[in-house]
C-alpha cells in the first residue's frame, strides 16, 4: 500500500499540484471522510461564503476503495454547505472512486473559481483542465456522452453536475458514473459555483496490498457472510424501496409533508411493484459490491413514457411519492428520472414540492405563483412539471424553491416556516423520528441536518436477531432494542456514529455495515490491517471514527453552531403523530434535551454549548489541529 496522494486544483489560477498526505493524518483519520474532514477543517476558513471562491470541494474515495473488500466503492465529498452554512459530507457509490485510485490519486481538493466553465481530466497521473463551454448546460446523460466523445475513450468514469448544480439550486447533486449521486446539502451547487462541470478520470494502474493473501481471504469470507445475510438478500431482490411497505406498516412514512404517517397505496411505491409491473429491467452494482441494490427501470407507456435509467430508491419513492401524496408509480419514475438528469437530490426536491403543495392547500401559494400548475396533493403531473422548473430555476416558484425551503419559507412569510420540515436548513429525509427516539437524537446532532445518511440507528428497531444482538452488545441488555425508549439512546447513537465514520472513511457502504452486519468494525479492522500492514485494534478504529465525528463537530462550532442548533424540524417537535399504534408520539423539547444531555456527557462535550471539552479534544489527539481556533 502506498501513501495516499492528494491533488490540489486551483481553478482561479488554473494550477494543479499533488502532494503526499502526511502519514500522521492517515493514521489519525484513516482516509475518505476522515481525511476529507481534516482538509476541510484546515482549508475552509470560518464564515466564508459557501458559493464563493474560498470554499473548497474535497473528493476522496475510501481507503479500501478499489480492492475486493465488499461494498467498498464509495466516495465522500466534503465542503461547506450552502444550504446549512455548516459542514457537509455527502457520499456516493459508483465506479468513479476506484478509477481515481487506479489513476494514482486518492483525494482531489478543488479551490477557487474558474473564469469560464471547465472540466478536469485525469488520465493516469496526467492532469488537465479542459474547456467545458460546449458541455455547460447539458444534462447528466448528455454530459457523460459528450465527455466520452471529447476524450475518445469509452472506459472513463465521470463525476458531473447537471443544470441544477450549474444554476446553484440548493439541492443540486454531483453524479458519479451515470447512476450514483452524492446528493445532500448542495454539493452540486458548490461545484457549479466553481464553474467546474465535471471530473473525468481514467486509470489503468493497480493497488498493492500489504498482506495480499490475508486480505483476499478476509474479504472473500466477509463477502460470503454478506451474501448470506437476510437483509442483503432482500435488498438485492427488491432494492431499498422494497422496505417501503414495512415502514408504512410501522406508521413511519412521510405522507403529505409529515402531516400523516400512513398511506393506503404503499404497495404501488414498493420495489416489489417495480418487478410485478415490469418496470424493472436490471440491477446496478457499485464497485466491488455483490449486493446490487440499485435498480434500472424502463417505462415506455402512458403519459409519463420515456423513462430509461436509474430507478427510484426508498427515499425517492417516499419523497417524490408519499410526501406529495402521488400514488402514480409512473409519475414518480418520471420525476425521479428528471431529478437524475438535471442533477437534483430527490429527497430535497420532493420536500420542496411537498412544502409548495402544503402552501398551495393553505392558500399561501396560488396558480399565479406556480405558472398555472395545479399543486394539489397527489397531482403527478404537477410534481413532474415542478421538478423540472426547480432544476432549471424557471418561473417565480421554481426560483423560490431552488433556494431551499428554509430560505423559501422566510421569503414567503406567514406560517409557512412551520411546515418547512427542516433543521439547520436541510430538509429532513423521509424517516419518522417521532416514534423512534434513537433516530431523533441522531438527526438532531447530525452535523449536516436531519438526515439518515450520517447516522442511522437502524438496529434500534430490533428487526432481526442480529440487530437485537448488536443492541445487547452496545447497551448490555437486549430490552433496549425498542425504538420508543429514550434510555441508552446516546450509546446507540454514538456506536452508530463511530461505525458510520469508519464505514465512510474506509469506503464501505452503510448498508453492509449497519443495515446488514457482515462488515462490522471487527471485519473492517481486519481488512484495514491487512491492507495497510498496521495492527489496529477494533477499539482504536472506533476511536478514529469518534475523532472524525468530533472534528466535524468542531468545524461546526467554529462556524458558530451551538447546542440550540441541535434540533429537529418544528413540525416534529410540535405536532404529534396523527394515527397508528404510536398515535400522539412527539419529539418534545424536554425529551430532546434529555437525550442531548446524555449524548454530550457520553462524548465529553460541554452540555451548555456542545463544545468538546479540552480533555476530550486532547484525548482524541485533536489538540494540535484545533487549539488556535476554538474558544469557549
Amino acid at each position: 500500500m502506498r501513501q495516499p496522494i492528494v491533488l490540489h486544483v486551483d481553478l482561479s489560477h488554473g494550477t494543479l499540484r499533488s502532494e503526499l498526505v502526511p502519514k500522521q493524518v492517515t493514521t489519525q483519520f484513516l482516509g475518505g471522510r476522515g481525511v476529507n474532514a481534516y482538509y476541510a477543517y484546515k482549508m475552509i476558513k470560518p464564515g466564508i461564503d459557501p458559493l464563493g471562491p474560498e470554499n473548497v470541494l474535497i473528493v476522496g474515495p475510501g481507503t479500501l476503495t478499489g480492492t475486493t473488500a465488499p461494498c467498498s466503492g464509495r466516495t465522500s465529498v466534503t465542503c461547506k454547505s450552502p444550504v446549512t452554512n455548516l459542514y457537509n459530507k455527502t457520499n456516493s457509490g459508483g465506479h468513479w472512486g476506484a478509477e481515481l485510485k487506479y489513476a494514482g490519486y486518492d483525494y482531489i481538493i478543488i479551490a477557487g473559481v474558474s473564469s469560464h466553465p471547465v472540466y478536469l481530466w485525469i488520465d493516469n497521473g496526467k492532469m488537465e483542465i479542459r474547456d467545458a463551454r460546449e458541455i455547460w448546460g447539458s444534462d447528466i446523460k448528455r454530459t457523460n456522452q459528450l465527455i466520452r466523445e471529447d476524450l475518445g475513450d469509452e472506459e472513463i468514469q465521470v463525476a458531473t453536475i447537471g443544470p441544477a448544480g450549474e444554476n446553484r439550486v440548493m439541492c443540486g447533486y454531483i453524479n458519479f458514473s451515470w447512476h450514483h449521486a452524492a446528493g445532500r446539502a448542495g454539493a452540486g451547487a458548490v461545484m457549479g459555483s466553481k464553474n467546474l462541470k465535471a471530473i473525468a478520470v481514467r486509470g489503468t494502474g493497480g493497488i498493492k496490498v500489504a498482506d495480499p493473501i490475508n486480505f483476499i481471504n478476509i474479504s472473500n469470507k466477509v463477502r460470503q457472510e454478506l451474501a448470506n445475510d437476510s437483509g442483503t438478500k432482500t435488498l438485492a431482490q427488491w432494492g431499498t424501496s422494497g422496505s417501503l411497505p414495512v415502514v408504512n406498516e410501522l406508521y413511519s412514512i412521510n405522507n403529505r409533508n409529515f402531516q400523516n404517517n400512513y398511506i393506503e397505496y404503499a404497495e404501488k411505491l414498493s420495489g416489489q411493484y417495480l418487478v410485478e409491473a415490469g418496470y424493472l429491467k436490471g440491477r446496478i452494482a457499485c464497485f466491488s459490491c455483490s449486493t446490487a441494490c440499485h435498480r434500472y427501470v424502463v417505462n415506455q407507456n402512458g403519459p409519463f413514457r420515456g423513462v430509461n435509467g436509474a430507478g427510484p430508491e426508498f427515499e425517492a419513492m417516499a419523497s417524490l411519492g408519499s410526501a406529495t401524496d402521488v400514488s402514480d408509480t409512473e409519475a414518480i419514475l418520471m420525476a425521479n428520472q428528471i431529478c437524475n438528469q438535471l442533477g437534483l437530490d430527490v429527497v430535497s426536491a420532493g420536500s420542496y414540492v411537498a412544502w409548495a403543495m402544503e402552501c398551495y392547500e393553505k392558500g399561501m401559494l396560488t396558480k399565479e405563483d406556480s405558472d398555472g400548475i395545479d399543486l394539489r396533493w397527489g397531482n403527478g403531473e404537477a410534481l413532474v412539471q415542478m421538478i423540472e422548473k426547480i432544476g432549471r430555476r424557471e418561473g417565480r416558484l421554481g426560483d423560490l424553491l431552488a433556494k431551499g425551503i428554509r430560505r423559501a419559507s422566510q421569503e414567503l412569510g406567514g406560517d409557512s416556516w412551520k411546515w418547512a420540515v427542516q433543521a439547520k436548513g436541510l430538509e429532513q429525509s423521509c424517516v419518522e423520528t417521532r416514534s423512534a427516539k434513537g433516530y431523533s437524537l441522531a438527526f438532531a446532532v447530525n452535523p449536516r441536518g436531519p438526515d439518515h445518511l450520517m447516522t442511522e440507528t437502524f438496529a434500534e428497531y430490533g428487526a432481526s436477531p442480529e440487530a437485537v444482538e448488536l443492541i445487547r452488545k452496545i447497551t448490555g441488555d437486549a430490552k433496549y432494542a425498542t425504538p420508543h425508549l429514550t434510555e441508552k439512546r446516546a450509546e446507540i447513537v454514538r456506536w452508530h456514529e463511530d461505525t458510520y465514520a469508519i464505514t465512510d472513511a474506509l469506503g464501505f457502504c452503510a448498508f453492509s455495515s449497519t443495515a446488514a452486519y457482515a462488515v462490522n468494525p471487527e471485519n473492517m479492522a481486519a481488512m484495514y490491517n491487512a491492507f495497510t500492514g498496521e495492527s489496529l485494534s477494533t477499539d482504536t478504529l472506533m476511536e478514529a471514527g469518534r475523532r472524525i465525528v468530533t472534528l466535524e463537530r468542531i468545524f461546526n462550532i467554529r462556524e458558530g453552531a451551538r447546542r440550540e442548533d441541535d434540533t429537529l424540524p418544528w413540525r416534529l417537535m410540535n405536532e404529534p403523530v396523527s394515527s397508528g399504534p404510536r398515535k400522539g408520539a412527539i419529539n418534545s423539547p424536554e425529551e430532546l434535551n434529555k437525550l442531548l444531555d446524555q449524548y454530550y456527557d457520553l462524548h465529553g462535550w460541554d452540555r451548555k454549548t456542545s463544545i468538546p471539552t479540552h480533555e476530550t479534544v486532547e484525548q482524541l489527539g485533536l489538540l494540535d489541529l484545533t487549539k488556535d481556533q476554538i474558544t469557549e
Partner: protein, 153 residues
Amino acid sequence: MDEKVILANPFKCTGCRVCELVCSFKHEGMFVPSLSRIRIVKIHEMGFNNPISCLDCSRMPCVDACPTGACQVMKVDTALCIGCRECIAACPFGAMDFNPTTRVSYKCDLCEGDPECVKGCIPGALSYQVGSNQAKTKRRDRTTIRYELVREA
C-alpha cells in the same frame, strides 16, 4: 480441449467488477482491473453490463493473426510473443489485451481449471460448466452468430 467453459449471462451481471478484481489479483498479484482477463463493458444508456472474457471461438482470429505462434488456445506463450498486438486487433470481442509492463498479450487461461472470477461472482452471472456437447454446440453457434454480426459492423 477442456470441455468446461466460462458462461456469462449479461442479464444477470450487475457490473460490480469483482471478477476483474479477483482475476487481476490472481494473475498480477494486485488489484488492477485494466489487466484483468475478464472485463465488464457497461452500456450505461441501457443499463447493460456485459462480461467479456475469451470465448474460445472455433475460428480463433487471434491465433490466425499471430505471426509467431505465441497466441494459442486459452493461452499466450510469453516467450514467443513479440508484442505486435495483432491478436488484440483481430479479436472482435476485445477479449485480449496488452500488458505494457510485461510487454506481452494476455487472455483468459481459465485459472488452470478453477476460474477465480466464477468463484467471486455472487449474482451468478458467470458459471463454469462442463459443457455437454449440446451446450457447447449451442454456445458455439451463438458465438458464431455474434461473431458474424460483429464482423458485419
